[in-house]
């Protein structure tokens, strides 16, 4: 075995191998939430591409069969069809794996949604490396870079069921297209299930500390909070920011935090190029903030992810609490490099 493999990780309760799939799934939430919203909003229609059981849009279909469209395995067509629907005043929600939506359909999203400014919502689920051993074809570790570069696009990465629900509910009337980057549905809860506080384009400060700010979104928020707890033992006080909106990015909020603590560790389930870390770097440059140490923790710049159960991969790529805490400590050590990239 190559020495870059870390020690095998025992299967645990959160691992793919474990039978936890009946737990509260964010994908299931999105099907139910959309069905609830559609009860009062006749504009809402849902499209998917032969994945209604995987993304639970079947829950929407059961309640609104006349407003559900299965386009089969033809994702590019699905995106353009949604665009055509939107010109008639509908609010289409199109759902499939993030790898196929954000990567395969990038040009349709740019040309048919973002350029004409049409209010189509993309539900890009199983994002990042959450499809584990299904491999690179099913991983989406580059699409934030694509979505973030599109004028007029809103990009939202909720971290759990409650925030997915709140994000969907709070954006129904938002202009233009929205890319929702959501996970596999096995994410630990971060927010109170009853919480409805979701403000598009604002960093959510989940914890405040003076030494280091960990900026996370999606699957990395929960381990970032755990890492902050671990670092207390080392005398390190961390802020944890949920950067759920990558575009429009809360540049002012980030610069304020960066100025106050001087050390940012960005943790994302994405290649370290193009995604959340790049959004932070852009904000610092635009804001003229000097002297900040920016650490990037994500998928290595020059690698495609190994295959394996997702939790094992998160451990391997240091996207778990221990990994994040270790990188946080290293970032505060003046002799260390700031990023693995």
């Amino acid at each position: 075995m190559p020495d870059r493999f870390r020690a095998p990780v025992p299967a645990d309760q959160a691992s793919w191998d474990m039978a936890t799939s009946e737990g509260l799934s964010r994908a299931a939430v999105s099907g139910e939430v959309l069905a609830d919203l559609a009860d009062d909003d006749p504009r809402i229609v849902v499209l998917t591409g032969d994945l209604k059981y995987s993304n639970r849009t079947v829950d929407f279909e059961k309640r609104h069969p006349g407003r559900f469209y299965n386009l089969g395995i033809a994702e590019q067509n699905m995106v353009s069809v949604a665009a055509g629907m939107a010109t008639f005043g509908l609010r289409p929600y199109a759902a499939t794996f993030a790898s196929f939506l954000g990567l395969l359909c990038a040009e349709q999203i740019r040309t048919d949604l973002a350029y004409p400014g049409l209010p189509v919502r993309l539900l890009a689920h199983h994002a990042g490396i959450s499809l584990g051993f299904y491999g690179t074809s099913h991983h989406a570790t580059e699409e934030l870079g694509l979505m973030r570069a599109m004028a007029g696009m809103t990009v939202i990465c909720p971290c759990d069921a409650a925030s997915t629900r709140a994000a969907l509910r709070s954006t129904v009337d938002r202009d233009g297209p929205i890319y929702f980057r959501i996970g596999r549905g096995r994410e630990p809860d971060v927010y109170d299930a009853a919480a409805e506080t979701f403000e598009v384009g604002k960093l959510a400060e989940l914890r405040r500390g003076a030494d280091l700010a960990i900026v996370a979104n999606g699957i990395t928020v929960a381990p970032a909070l755990e890492a902050a707890e671990l670092l207390v033992a080392d005398g390190i006080e961390c802020s944890v920011l949920d950067a759920h909106t990558v575009r429009p990015f809360d540049a002012d909020g980030l610069c304020e935090v960066a100025r106050s603590c001087g050390h940012l560790l960005v943790v994302e389930e994405h290649n370290v190029y193009g995604g959340l870390a790049s959004a932070c770097a852009d904000a610092l440059v635009d804001g003229g903030v000097d002297g900040v140490r920016l650490g990037r923790l994500g998928l290595p710049a020059d690698e495609y992810s190994l295959i394996g159960p997702p939790t094992h991969l998160y451990r391997h790529y240091e996207l778990d609490a221990q990994g994040i805490a270790g990188r946080g400590k290293a970032l505060l050590d003046p002799s260390s490099a700031t990023s693995r990239a």
Partner: protein, 281 residues
Amino acid sequence: MSQAAPAPAVVAEVRRRAALVRRETVRLIGIAKSGHYTSVFSCAEIFAALYSGIMRIDDDPQSPERDRLIISKGHAAVGLYPLLAERGYFPTDWLDEYTRLGSPLGDHPDMRRVPGVDFSSGSIGHGLSIGVGMALAARSEGFAETRPWVLLGDQELNEGQVWEAATAAAHFQLGNLCAIVDRNQMGLDGMTEEVMAVEPIDAKFASFGWDVRHVDGHDPVALLEVLGSVERVQRGRPTCVIAATVKGKGIGYMELSRTWHLGYLAPADAEVALEELAADA
């Protein structure tokens, strides 16, 4: 044909508009100094027929019940602009600034900037999908008389997304959708059957579950008859009209000439071209 022959006055209008399209295309590309003359010339009569009573549109380019036209071969937009201006959708002096810095009118059409353009296009292969979405929405939202028309290029049929859309249109029984293939025989690199074969177009669409019709795409009477006979039904087979045309039709040396896919006529040459078009009209 079960319907009466088109009225001579309407046929004359189609001829007049087709001549306007060709003439203005020569003038406008003269401003840009580069453009797709031949791709417009092949569909000049199709545009003219659609805007001479085939499409149901009114003075409001945003009327919800209106028919939509998606120019999936977006590079033919320069031929559409004069017809939209003629309908009063925007001032005719916009044409004089075609493609100049900040102009709403570019080589490919922009729905946000040009009143009367129903969808932005230019990336070949998307248009039929857009039409499918519009047809589904027209049906679900109760616009029983609204029809999306999609103008496809022939070489465009190489794009896989066209066939994804063709599959979906038949699956959803979009009897309110009509595709028109401008079968002008050429792509950019040469004859379609040499570049990448598209035939048999009729058998392909038929096997996908479409109702297929053929028409001489330069004959105003035939176009009015065939396009006018496409029924407006909510559920049924979508319709594909294959219009036999000649790329570059109207200027002898441009017809079926590979080198004129993109080109520019210097003023003296444009004058000669306009004379040829005038003699033809």
